[in-house]
């Protein structure tokens, strides 16, 4: 292939998102593994440049993530510590799975949902609102209601972008980014002092924070000490949604339509599929996933939201990295979410021994690795340059042009 490259065997040129999505699912499991390894390798060079030993640093990060809990040879004392760490890692993993699915599902329809963060935020707002009011509801009903409210809010937020795309052709990348900012400032306004959802507690009079979620609306902890932020049942919710995502995508009429539109909107239209309606449906579902992620965090361990939480939250953005690394599949998303959960928890100041790696730099290490992963998966050229030719051709998903191909 000459330097111009890019001649893609005559397939209708899809959107950037759909081409990227196709590429991501092209080369088996090898590409994401290489991607992650490369990212850690470059991250290791950074650690080295910062004057630390990369091997002992990564070891410390791994132990900080609690993933060493699975090793049978740990002493009882180490195991207790590992369990605590693993609970924290999984606490992060659950919303990452959902935020990742919110991006992955859109990708499969050829849409780039950058709006996971906004959809997540309106989910947290709805969850804290319902969770902190209606105190006399039975516990199970209350928690379910709060989760449903978060789903609905997220779906609304995603649906707006889908509707704009379907009716006016507005690029979903732009509209979801704008909706992110609307969600952020909506949250800041609601929870700031004197705002509609500002705490009614006199002790919090000058603190821009919401009311606490009622005990009955909290997700029960099933592993670890509820007082010490143990692991709540939201993890099972996330795993359940993974299953739903897989069935929806691969075994449902809607999923067939989504994939057809994602691969080739013209052929989908020929099959009687309304692409616009599919875009709205997809974005509603994506928003629902992200909104539910917000509910898990609020009802699972945060229990209240301050305006600073709204501003610094990154869960929705991690979803993009999770989906990219997880190649928009159910299993990949789960693995990538666990990786990012472990990475963030393992590099948290609390977990990293300052003699091994400067804790002030630790958080940046996460960001570096995250950034590298996004860079590597979004820049297929780099990967194709670094991988053997066979892989390239497999990633193209087709043999050489054949007949009238």
């Amino acid at each position: 292939m000459s330097a111009t490259g890019g001649g893609d065997g005559g397939q209708a040129p899809g959107t950037v998102a759909s081409r990227l999505s196709g590429y991501l699912r092209g080369g088996g499991v090898l590409v994401p593994v290489i991607t992650a390894l490369l990212s850690f390798l470059v991250g290791g060079v950074v650690v080295l440049a910062a004057g630390s030993n990369p091997i002992s640093t990564y070891r410390a990060v791994f132990e900080g993530s609690g993933l060493n809990w699975v090793f049978p040879w740990l002493s009882a004392e180490d195991r207790t510590l590992a369990a605590l760490n693993l609970q924290q890692t999984l606490l992060l993993t659950a919303p990452f799975i959902l935020a990742g699915l919110a991006v992955a599902f859109a990708f499969r329809a050829g849409l780039f949902n950058i709006g996971g963060q906004g959809q997540y935020l309106v989910g947290t707002i709805a969850a804290v609102w319902i969770g902190s009011s209606l105190g006399d509801l039975p516990a199970l009903l209350h928690v379910v209601l709060a989760m449903l409210a978060a789903c609905a809010a997220g779906a609304l937020w995603g649906g707006i972008a889908g509707l704009l795309k379907a009716t006016t052709g507005a690029n979903e990348v732009i509209s979801t980014i704008m909706l992110n900012w609307i969600a952020i400032w909506l949250g800041v306004w609601l929870f700031s002092v004197g705002g509609p959802l500002h705490s009614s507690d006199p002790a919090q009079e000058s603190v821009p924070v919401s009311d606490d979620v009622e005990p009955g609306a909290r997700l029960p902890v099933f592993w670890g000490d509820p007082e010490l932020q143990g692991l709540h049942v939201g993890l099972f919710v996330a795993i359940g949604v993974l299953l739903v995502f897989w069935i929806l995508l691969n075994r449902s009429v809607t999923g067939y339509e989504v994939r057809a539109v994602g691969f080739n909107p013209d052929a989908a239209e020929y099959g009687g599929i309304n692409a616009g309606r599919t875009y709205v449906k997809v974005m509603l579902i994506c928003g629902l996933f992200a909104g539910l992620a917000g509910a898990l965090d609020v009802l699972g361990w945060q229990f209240r939201i301050a305006t600073t939480d709204v501003q610094i939250s990154q869960v929705g953005f991690y979803g993009i990295a999770v989906a990219l690394l997880g190649r928009n599949t159910a299993v990949g998303t789960a693995v990538a979410a666990l990786l990012f959960g472990g990475l963030i928890n393992g590099t948290s100041v609390r977990n990293l021994d300052p003699t091994i790696f400067d804790p002030q730099l630790a958080v940046n290490l996460t960001l570096i690795i995250q950034g590298l992963i996004v860079l590597f998966v979004s820049a297929p050229v780099l990967i194709t340059l670094l991988s053997p030719g066979r892989l390239v051709r497999r990633a193209r998903g087709r043999p050489a042009p054949e007949g009238t191909a």
Binding site: M1, S2, A3, T4, G5, G6, G7, D8, G9, G10, Q11, A12, G22, I247, R251, S252, V253, T254, G255, Y256, R259, A260, F263, N264, D266, A267, A268, E269, Y270, G271, G272, G389, G397, R398, P399, A400, P401, E402, G403, T404, A405
Partner: protein, 479 residues
């Protein structure tokens, strides 16, 4: 392969022509065997090495950068430089020089996206020549060209061979082989059948080599009594994608048991008519009735429910979702209904169960239910489309360019399928740019010109008669 000759490589879809050429160009590695160039065995590991050996390839799908000029595209990857910058003047001079020497007229300053397909192909050829190639591989170069452009290409090829360039010409069009090639190698299922001189060869003899049996060029068909009208179009008006009127009050009828051919110069409203009838385009005015039911504006699902089958003009853009496997592609029309789906859930098992006999019946080769459509050859892809459409048992089949890009064997297959529809008392509207095809299949031929049916002639009308009507002249009295 001799110096300065045009050597054609002929074979059915999937016979291995493109694969062989990709091996020569270093895109694929041979599993066995050797390649000899200028009497020396060579190993070609990559396109770069192929270029080093002065082998150049022009692909079916051009690899040009639309926003760059002709000169920039030609010199890409081997640019004349002035310091670190591209020496634009030298590039343009070089292009003018090459185009003069080989008689390939192009404007080096034009932007590639602004010039026609035939011109773009010249740019591709120029690029290959610029890199010093003296073995030129052309992969189905005429597939994208009009008859006029193809003639111009042949003139260019004659100039090239006069300059000592050898040309390998991949095609499955017999007439072109006889016209341009000196010798021809016929491939069938990955093996060389024979290499013959085109002197003394005929279309029939080549077709026999290619398919391995006698091929009928004229379709035999029984006279059928046409029945009640199944497709009635009246006063149809529609706009094209740019919002300009494309159909201006078109009326036609297709009755049960007949094939009506629609002849015309490309761009006279054929695509818009097909899209209106199949529900892809909403007509601005007029009525479309299928079996007596009005379907104008009812959308694709409405048209499908009324009994419209659609063999789409472009199987890659419309007819198939290339990354989907064959079972999924075969479900594209019926996935919403039982037995393929129930309560909103698909059944991959039932999809496969339905697909398997269809792939057998329609003789789809090169893949099974789980093979992505992208990896089939063009002819087999078209068989998948036809299998899907005819499996819906349509009252009216709209076939738009159903044999474009297919080899003789596949064309014969497609024609037989359309005739079977006719014999089964269904209606077929055949839209084609190939007059030969229209004449041999149709019971009646309608001529479309500027969005209207301007003439109706019998299938035995002469080229001149059709040509006059197609270009807007008054048609002579009914033949």
């Amino acid at each position: 392969m001799r110096r300065g000759e045009v050597h054609a490589l002929l074979g059915e879809n999937g016979a291995g022509k493109s694969t062989l050429m990709n091996v020569l160009y270093g895109l694929h590695q041979p599993d066995e065997g050797e390649i000899r160039l200028r009497d020396e065995p060579v190993a070609i590991g990559s396109p770069r090495e192929a270029i080093g050996l002065r082998i150049g390839m022009v692909h079916q799908h051009f690899m040009l950068i639309g926003v760059m000029t002709v000169a920039e595209n030609v010199v890409l990857a081997s640019e004349p430089r002035k310091g670190a910058l591209l020496d634009r003047g030298a590039a343009e001079r070089r292009v003018s020089e090459l185009s003069e020497r080989f008689g390939l007229a192009v404007d080096p300053r034009a932007r590639v996206e602004d010039i026609g397909v035939g011109q773009q192909q010249r740019v591709e050829i120029l690029r290959v020549l610029h890199r010093g190639a003296d073995v030129l591989i052309l992969d189905e170069p005429t597939a994208v060209l009009t008859a006029q452009e193809a003639q111009e290409l042949f003139a260019v090829l004659r100039n090239l061979t006069a300059e000592g360039v050898s040309v390998i010409f991949i095609t499955h069009k017999l007439r072109e082989v006889l016209e341009i090639a000196d010798r021809v190698t016929v491939l069938r299922r990955g093996r060389k059948v024979d290499t013959v001189s085109t002197q003394g060869a005929t279309e029939a003899s080549l077709a026999k080599l290619m398919v391995g049996r006698e091929v009928l060029f004229r379709v035999e068909k029984e006279a059928e009594e046409a029945g009640r009208p199944l497709l009635e179009v009246e006063g149809l008006e529609a706009l094209d994608d740019r919002g300009l009127p494309a159909l201006r009050g078109l009326s036609l009828q297709v009755r049960a048991g007949e094939i009506v051919g629609l002849a015309g110069v490309d761009g006279n409203g054929q695509s818009e008519l097909v899209e209106c009838v199949t529900g892809l385009r909403v007509p601005a005015a007029g009525t479309i009735r299928v079996g007596g039911r009005e379907i104008g504006g009812a959308g694709v699902r409405g048209a499908l429910a009324a009994g419209i089958g659609h063999i789409a003009e472009d199987r890659h853009r419309r007819g198939l979702v290339l990354p989907f496997n064959l079972a999924e592609n075969l479900a594209l029309r019926g996935y919403r209904r039982g037995p393929l789906s129930r309560f909103g859930l698909l059944s991959p098992r039932r999809m496969r169960k339905r697909a398997f006999p269809l792939l057998q019946d329609y003789d789809v080769r090169g893949g099974d239910c789980d093979t992505p459509a992208a990896s089939l050859s063009g002819g087999n892809q078209q068989k998948v489309v036809i299998a899907r459409e005819l499996a819906e048992d349509p009252l009216v089949t709209v076939a738009a360019q159903p044999t474009r890009g297919l080899d003789v064997g596949a064309i014969e297959f497609v024609h037989r399928q359309l005739l079977e529809q006719r014999e089964a008392g269904r209606a077929v509207l055949l839209v084609s740019l190939e007059l030969e095809e229209i004449r041999s299949l149709s019971d009646r031929v309608l001529v479309i010109y500027e969005g209207r049916v301007v003439a109706e002639v019998g299938p035995d009308a002469s080229d001149e008669e059709l040509g006059v009507a197609m270009t807007g002249g008054r048609a002579p009295a009914e033949a």
